[in-house]
Subunit: 368 residues, 2 copies
C-alpha cells in the first residue's frame, strides 16, 4: 500500500513528506487508515534526538483511524472498526496486565521505544529501505500497520478528528488525576498549561478538586486554564520568592497533589516541594530525558511526601480508553478548546513551530 | 532536681557525665524518672553535627520511664504512669493530627529539631547555663521534663528496659511496613541490618511478606536478619553488578517494596531502582543530612514506581504506640535480640563505639 507520510530523516531535521510503502499486516497485526493525528511534545522531543527514536522515522503517536486490513490470527478487531493506536499496549496476558496493578504492559516494552514492531522490523519502507515507526506506531502516515494489542476500539459515533487526542494528551493528563485518586475537595497544582496540563486541570475539576493552581510563564494560556477549571494562575516570573513558597503560602502549607506536566527536572523537584507536609503527593506526568538526574533533598520524603509517575495516565488502553470516548460523547469531557489549529499533513513542520512558540495547544492534522 | 546526665558539649566530642539541674515542669509538662535509654544512629548523627542539634546538649531520644511530677494543667497523665517519650508528639488538635492522614504533628515541629521545648528554652541546666534537650527530649538523663503531648502512656506490666526501644527503633521500622500497607505475599528488600532494618524485617514477616531480602556489607549480621525473617541476605561486595540488578534478577524484575534504613543517599536511589516496574514502592526510613541531594533518573517514576518517606514509622505516638507494647507483651514482637549490650550511663561513649563498629544492634543503658 502506498501512503503519504511525514519522515524525520534525522534528529533535528524538518520533516519531509514522501510517498512510502506500507507492508501488509502480519500475524496479529492490522492496517489502519488514519483519519487524524496531532503533534505532541513527545514527538518534538523525539525529533530533537532526546528519546531512543531510530531514524529515519515516521513520527506521531497520537491519532485515530479505521481498520482497513486484517492480518492472520487477529481476534479482537474487524474491518471498519474505529481505533486509536496505543503507544502503551494492553496484551492482557503479561505479568503487568495480569496484576491489575499497572498499565505498563510488557508485551512491547522493549520494541516500541526503539521505533520498531515486536519482530524488530518496521512495516514502513521507502525505495526498499526501512523507515521506522515512532513508538511502534508512526501516525504521521495515511496508512500504518500495528499489532492489535496496540489498538483501542472506540465508539464509531465519535469524530476521529477530535478523539485522536485520547491517543496521548487527554488520557495522559486526565488519567494521571484518576490514578492519583484525587478526592473531592483536594487542592491541586499543575505545572505547565499545555495539552497535558489542561487535561490534568480538566481531570481535577471532574474530580471536584476545591483549588486548582496552574503555573506557567506563558500568561496567554491563563484564560484557557481558567475555562477548564483553574482557580489560580501563577507566573513564576511575577515573584522573587521560589514558586513553591508562593504556592505553599496560598494553600496553608502546600497542595495535596502536584502534577508536573512540562518535563522540566527543576519543575519536578518544585512540584514535590510545594506539596503538603505529611501527605502531599507529586506526580511526574511530563516526559524528561531518562539520562538526566533530578536532585532532591531527602528531607522532602522524611516529611511524609510521596513521589509518583504515570505513563499514559496509568490508563489501560483496551479496557479504559473507550470509556473516556464515551464521556466525551456524553459531554463530560471537552476537546474542542485543545484544538487550536487544523492543518494538512504538508504543513506538519508548522505544527512543530506552533508548539515550540507556545501559540498552539494542539494542531490536528486531518488526512481526508 | 539533680540528675546524672551525659552531656555533649560540642559536635564530635565524647559525652561527659555531669550532675545537672532539672527545673520543675511548667504548664502542660511532666517530669520523668528514666528507667532506660538506648543509643540510636540518630544520636550518633546529631553528635557528629549533621543535624540541627544545639550544643551543649543532653542527647538521647529513645527511652522509657515513670512520671514523678506533674506541672499545672496536665490532663492525660498521673504520677506513676509508665511512659515513652516521643520525638514526634501527638497533640490531637493541630491540622495534621486532625487530618488523620499523617503522624507529623505540628505542635513541636519548629522546636524539637532545635533541641528546645515549645517556649524556646530547656529544663536542663548546669551551673546556671542551659543544656539543651535532644529532639526536645534528652533521654541520656536520669530525670527530664517534657510536654505531656510528647509522652505515650504504656501498660505498666511492660519492662521499661526492653520497651524503651519503641521510642524510636522498633516503631520506626515496624511502623514503616504498616504505613506502606505491605500485603501478604509481597516481596520486600531491606537496606541495612541495624536496629531499624531488623524492625522492618520483623514488620515484613508479621505482614506475611513472601520474600524478605536483607542487604548489608556486615555479614556478621546475616544470622540475626534470618532469625527475624529474612529469606535472602546479600552483601553488595560479593557482586560485580550493581546490587539493584542482583535483586531484580532474583525477583522477576524487582521487589514490590524496598525500605532504605541506612540513611545513605546512594542506597535511597538504589532502593527505588530495585523495585518492580509498574507498582514498586521505595520507602526512605534512614535519616540523611537534609542539606544533601539525591540524584535520580526521572525514568524511574515514568515507569510507575513511587517514592515515600516516613518519620517514626508513620505511627501516632499516643494512640498507636501503646498497641505495639501490647503486642510485645503478647509475644508477637521480639525485642531481646535487639539488645546486644547492657551498659551503665558512665559507659555511654562505649555504646557509640559499638554502634559505629557494627558490633552492637542496640546498647541499652539502665539508670537503676
Amino acid at each position: 500500500m502506498k501512503s503519504r507520510a511525514a519522515i524525520a530523516w534525522e534528529a533535528g531535521a524538518p520533516l519531509v513528506i514522501e510517498e512510502i510503502d506500507v507492508a501488509s499486516p502480519q500475524s496479529g497485526e492490522v492496517m489502519i487508515r488514519m483519519s487524524a493525528t496531532s503533534v505532541c511534545q513527545w514527538d518534538a522531543l523525539s525529533l530533537m534526538g532526546k528519546q531512543q527514536t531510530r531514524f529515519p522515522c515516521v513520527l506521531g503517536h497520537e491519532g485515530a483511524g479505521v481498520v482497513v486490513e486484517l492480518g492472520p490470527n487477529v481476534t479482537s478487531l474487524r474491518l471498519g472498526d474505529h481505533v486509536i493506536p496505543l503507544f502503551m499496549p494492553e496484551c492482557g496476558t503479561c505479568i503487568a496486565c495480569m496484576s491489575h496493578k499497572t498499565n505498563l504492559c510488557q508485551a512491547l516494552e522493549t520494541t516500541q521505544p526503539l521505533s520498531i514492531l515486536q519482530d524488530g522490523t518496521s512495516r514502513f519502507s521507502l525505495r526498499g529501505e526501512p523507515i521506522y515507526q515512532h513508538l511502534g506506531l508512526g501516525t504521521f502516515s495515511e496508512y500504518l500497520v500495528v499489532p492489535e494489542i496496540a489498538l483501542a476500539r472506540i465508539n464509531p459515533k465519535a469524530p476521529l478528528s477530535k478523539v485522536c487526542l485520547f491517543g496521548c494528551t487527554l488520557t495522559t493528563g486526565m488519567g494521571a488525576v484518576k490514578t492519583a485518586q484525587v478526592p473531592p475537595g483536594a487542592t491541586v497544582a499543575v505545572f505547565g498549561i499545555g495539552g497535558i496540563g489542561l487535561s490534568v486541570i480538566q481531570g481535577a475539576r471532574q474530580a471536584q478538586a476545591s483549588r486548582i493552581i496552574a503555573i506557567d510563564t506563558n500568561v496567554n494560556k491563563f484564560p484557557l486554564a481558567e475555562d477548564f477549571g483553574a482557580t489560580d494562575c501563577l507566573n513564576p516570573h511575577d515573584y522573587t520568592d521560589p514558586i513553591a513558597s508562593i504556592i505553599m503560602n496560598r494553600t496553608h502549607g502546600g497542595v495535596d497533589y502536584a502534577f508536573e506536566c512540562t518535563g522540566s527536572l527543576h519543575m519536578m523537584a518544585t512540584a514535590l516541594a510545594c506539596t503538603q507536609r505529611g501527605w502531599g503527593m507529586a506526580v511526574n506526568v511530563g516526559i524528561a530525558n531518562p539520562d538526566d538526574r533530578i536532585a532532591v533533598s531527602p528531607a522532602l520524603f522524611d516529611s511524609g511526601r510521596s513521589w509518583h509517575g504515570t505513563v499514559f495516565g496509568g490508563i489501560r488502553g483496551h479496557t479504559q480508553l473507550p470509556e473516556y470516548v464515551e464521556q466525551y460523547l456524553q459531554g463530560a469531557i471537552k476537546i474542542d478548546p485543545f484544538i487550536t489549529h487544523l492543518l494538512r499533513l504538508e504543513d506538519i513542520n508548522l505544527a512543530f513551530d506552533l508548539l515550540h512558540s507556545g501559540e498552539s495547544i494542539r494542531s490536528v492534522i486531518r488526512f481526508n
